[in-house]
Amino acid sequence: MPLVELVTGATAVSTFAGRKNFPKRDGESHSVQRAINRRLADLERENYNDSVKIEVPKAEGSRSSGKSPAVRRILVSKKTLSNLFDEDETGTSDFYAAAVEPSRYPMRRLCSVCGYWGAITCIRCGARYCSLVCEDTHRETRCLKVYA
């Protein structure tokens, strides 16, 4: 274990020597954090293909819609959540203020390929893997996505 720490420590020093921006505390640079956030946004999607548009079918003999102008405005409104967040500052800040805080305990590191403990960090993109087999898989598939 200490040997692994030494190697990653040395790599960190040599990679960032002379640069003004040092990586974040647990060794995750801003580009790595951006990749993580992008992935989390992907995981929040409803459908894989985002441009899918499902039209509401027009029912025959449906009850009359939009009895009042206020309701008509609500029914045709195409505002998305981000529009609504922009419009309401207090509501948005209340919503985000209630978010659960980060844990007091350190993060666990799991291999991004097989899910086992991930002791080794990829130098280029910061992902974790556990063994040489997983390193090969990682290099062939997911690596270099961050290294743009």
Binding site: S68, A98, V100
Partner: protein, 419 residues
């Protein structure tokens, strides 16, 4: 006051982002209907329950939900779903809004404009005779929660954890009012778990990125919460699939002459059909629900649910109230149905709570309909509901602002003095 003036029926809608649980207060159980529009391969769009009754092939289905990240933003689709729910012959409620009192739930931290839009739709579009809007937690709290703890009756203070599709929300209810300063939201919900499983399966086995529904079935049938993550992880790493007791073979659904055969776990005793497509699951079975306890496994900078519960508790200023809350914890929502969730939660929470506090955790038999059951119980209690609701007459007189006033945040008296 003539009795003829009173509305004849009370209808309760627990409006979840995934499922709607709805029914009259007199019904034993609610109808559970998907709260979405679904489109199958054949371009046919299904509204709500039509997805189960009419859709024959669940592969490649895409969904459109009125909810976005836990806020009801799209009324065009929600109205279509509600119209079908309230008026269609197939669902069979035949609600007459003029003669009905409506109870609807909304998400706990919803933007006020979304809540106000619902108020306007309920009164101006549907014309219900009176209406009560609250969080699902408030309805859960109406149940006789004592039964969950092996006692009876109910307390006026409880901590409700609602782990649903959009997120997991921790809501302390003190003296029958939601205490908003201590409400906490953990962004891990059924949607995230399903998408994480989908991404993992697609990377390791077969590409199933278009198969949201099938992956959701796999999640429901195969995933569980482990009590010893490290041990199970070692088991899956060291043993090959054939000898690994945790590995599971899942037979993917496929088209047959007689129709579509649904996906299911392979029965090892039966001979295997060579035409079957088998998906062998290993550590995904428990590393997916593990996100509820360790969201940092995928890089999310939020604490797990047990720690989040303590964050919510520590935001309550009074020590006695904190003790009361921890003595009346209720877990609802689909994610609490994972096998092993109860044991894991008890162990982890017990470790975080001081020894002198009595911790009582309640797990209802039906976590998905428990909120609706509370609403039905409230619906049968005429006086209680009447004191909370807004009538159509009041709405027409004062406008939507009366709803915001009556359903909005209330101060909790016992905590006010402690400031």
């Amino acid at each position: 006051m003539p009795v003829a003036g009173l509305p004849r029926a009370t209808f309760i809608i627990d409006n979840g982002a995934y499922n709607i649980k709805a029914g009259f207060a007199t019904n034993e159980v609610p109808s559970v209907i998907p709260n979405c529009l679904a489109r199958g391969r054949g371009r046919q769009v299904y509204i709500g329950d039509e997805f189960f009754t009419q859709c024959k092939d669940f592969s490649g289905v895409v969904f459109r939900r009125p909810f976005e990240k836990g806020h009801l933003t799209n009324w065009e689709s929600e109205k279509a779903i509600w119209d079908r729910l309230l008026f269609s012959n197939e669902v069979g409620f035949h609600v007459d809004p003029d003669e009905t009192v409506l109870t609807v739930t909304e998400p706990a931290l919803q933007l006020p404009v979304c809540s106000s839009n619902m108020d306007q739709i309920v009164f101006e579009e549907y014309g219900f005779s009176s209406y009560y809007r609250c969080t699902t937690a408030a309805l859960v709290h109406e149940n006789e929660t004592g039964i969950l703890f092996g006692a009876s009756g109910r307390s006026d203070t409880s901590l409700i954890i609602d782990s649903g599709y959009s997120a997991t929300v921790i809501i302390p209810i003190i003296e029958n009012n939601v205490y908003y300063p201590a409400v906490r939201r953990l962004n891990v919900g059924g949607k995230l778990l399903r998408n994480f499983l989908k991404e993992t399966i697609s990377f390791r086995y077969y590409n199933m990125m278009d198969e949201s529904w099938i992956v959701n079935e796999i999640k429901d049938q195969c995933c569980f919460v482990t009590t010893s993550f490290a041990k199970d992880l070692e088991t899956c790493k060291k043993l090959p699939a054939a000898r690994n007791p945790l590995a599971l073979d899942y037979v993917l659904p496929r088209a047959m002459a007689s129709g579509i055969r649904q996906g299911h776990i392979r029965d090892k005793a039966l001979p295997s059909d060579p035409d079957d497509q088998i998906l062998t699951l290993g550590n995904e079975r428990f590393s997916v629900p593990e996100l509820l306890f360790n969201p940092s496994d995928i890089g999310m900078r939020q604490a797990g649910l047990p720690e989040a519960i303590m964050q919510s508790i520590s935001a309550v200023p009074d020590a006695d109230v904190r003790g009361l809350l921890l003595g009346n914890v209720v877990f609802v929502g689909g994610n609490t149905k994972f096998s092993g969730f109860r044991d894991r939660m008890s162990t982890e929470l017990r470790a975080l709570v001081p020894d002198d506090i009595t911790l009582r955790l309640g797990f209802p038999e039906e976590p998905i309909t428990y909120g609706w059951q509370g609403g039905a119980k409230l619906g049968m209690d005429r006086t209680s509901l009447q004191s909370r609701q807004v009538t159509r007459k009041e709405y027409l007189e004062h406008g939507p602002s009366i709803c915001m006033r009556k359903f909005g945040k209330k101060t909790v008296k016992v905590l006010e003095n402690n400031v």
